[in-house]
């Protein structure tokens, strides 16, 4: 039933309306230009935190709108970043004079649209900045690294900081620290494909795609004979060595399915990760397992580690009330 999601335009609009109808106490949706804002009132002087993203990665970004996280979010077409017109509408809704922070995954479209929006906002006298999320160690050149699970973490950290009264500078700084302390990698498990086009080749039953992107960007096809532990041994060293993470580091572990991964398999993946965390003497202080950054209905998962300190831990634990995160 690929066609359900493929109706250009209207599927996004209806899905957006669906999300708002499912969470009427938390979010409010606007159309044309499309954006979503929180219903919870803002403390005065609060910095606005906004994120835009192509659709198909739900709950990101709309599911992160609400108290303690995003003030507003904009969904683009499938896998295509939203326009400055949408982003400016979100700015006008969320800005209360203390400035705006955009959380942007490092893809050309997201960065370019945000930079253009920031120029427009500055012309209107609104102080606007962005933090670039680039946690994907599958890309060797740091400048080209894509944004993965750290986008979820950055939205939470920035939102908690803003909610608790951090200034724009301070919110930018702590969010940049959160991203700088995070590393991720993705694994595709079923179809080596661009979901939109139904193209692509089925992976063999014993094969994965290592370092896959969340828009069908291909990874490296590897045959895996030993099951999950072998997969985790392929992604963990690049993650751990890059920061690097060291024994006794306190970490936050985020495991996200890509939308087509059975929960059974996600917990299988988690088990192998936890075993290695213990072997590396990493202290998993907090964890989140579920669908937090998806790629339409493809099979696969991403793993993200963030090195924690007391400030980041406090901001992570701060109350949040959104469709996707709630505590």
């Amino acid at each position: 039933m690929q066609s359900l999601v493929n109706q250009p335009g209207s599927a996004i609009t209806q899905s957006l309306r669906g999300m708002a109808l499912c969470h009427p106490d938390t979010i409010k949706v606007h159309f044309d230009p499309d954006y979503v804002e929180r219903t919870a009132p803002c403390p005065s002087g609060k910095v606005a935190v906004i994120s835009g993203s192509g659709s198909g990665h739900e709950p990101l970004p709309i599911g992160y709108v609400g108290l303690g996280m995003l003030d507003a979010a904009c969904p683009g077409p499938i896998f295509t970043s939203p326009s400055p017109v949408q982003l400016m509408a979100a700015v006008h809704s969320a800005d209360h004079g203390s400035g705006v922070l955009f959380i942007v995954k490092n893809y050309a479209g997201g960065v370019l649209n945000t930079e253009l929006t920031i120029e427009m906002a500055l012309q209107e006298g609104i102080d606007a900045r962005y933090v670039l999320v680039n946690d994907d160690v599958a890309i060797p050149e740091v400048a080209n690294r894509r944004g993965l699970g750290a986008a979820t973490l950055a939205c939470k950290i920035a939102g908690a900081a803003a909610e608790s009264g951090y200034s724009l500078d301070a919110t930018v700084n702590v969010t940049q620290r959160a991203v700088a302390a995070s590393r991720s990698m993705g694994v595709g498990t079923n179809v080596n494909t661009l979901p939109r086009n139904g193209l692509g080749v089925n992976l063999a039953d014993d094969s994965i795609e290592l370092g896959v992107g969340i828009h069908g960007e291909p990874g490296e096809v590897r045959s895996v004979k030993q099951g999950m532990p072998e997969i985790v041994d392929l992604i963990l060293p690049p993650i751990l060595d890059d920061l690097p993470f060291a024994p006794r580091d306190r970490v936050l572990l985020l495991i996200s399915g890509m939308g087509g991964t059975p929960p059974l398999e996600l917990y299988l993946f988690s088990e192998a990760i936890h075993e290695r965390m213990a072997a590396h003497q990493l202290r998993v202080e907090r964890q989140l397992i579920g669908n937090y950054l998806t790629s339409l209905g493809r099979g696969g998962y991403t793993m993200t580690l963030m090195k924690l300190d007391d400030e980041l831990l406090g901001l992570w634990d701060a109350p949040v009330h959104t469709p996707a995160l709630h505590w």
Binding site: P77, S83, A108, N113, L116
Partner: protein
Amino acid sequence: MGQEITTSQLRKWLLAYAARIIENEAHLTKLDTAIGDADHGVNMRRGMSKLKERLKEEKQSEDVSSFLRSVAMTLISGIGGAAGPLYGTFFLRAATSPTNGSSIDLVQLTQMFRYGLDGLQQRGKAQADDKTMIDTMQPAVEAMEAALAAHQSPAVILAAARQAAHLGMKHTIEIEARKGRASYLGPHSIGHQDPGATSAYFLFETAAEVFTKTGAG
């Protein structure tokens, strides 16, 4: 250099451009499927549909700058992805180039392209040979400037731009991507023509067709 291009002729050019892109939607998406995320045709078609809507309202003696600015805003809101802000910035910046009010001459047309190219390049920070639309636009604008300096006729100037754009577009087949999604493929991006370089080529192709026909002579 007495030829004047009016806002209404710019409108004709962009209508021809929109039609050319819409004809080539599948082709552009196919190119983006090989080395990107399979949406460049979809993105450009979405932008061009909005542009056609916008171009329907023909305002009396509209001035070139505000016309180009409104084209820019339409593309910015309509295309999306990476191409949206890039084409949008091209026209936003083109709108700041010198005009005679509601028309431009060929010198000013060349300046308009130069302003647009520089703006796009500042926005995207791509260099020549990064395998992007820059590889089409930069040689095309340079060819226009050279032909202008050599006092060529309008038809020759526009033909030079189109030819250089075509060579630039084809050159992207041979090089490795260093910007945009195709860069994730590294050397595997070689052998494929860049989708954005292709959509950018049509700007120069339709300019040559429309301005040579309507304006020359």
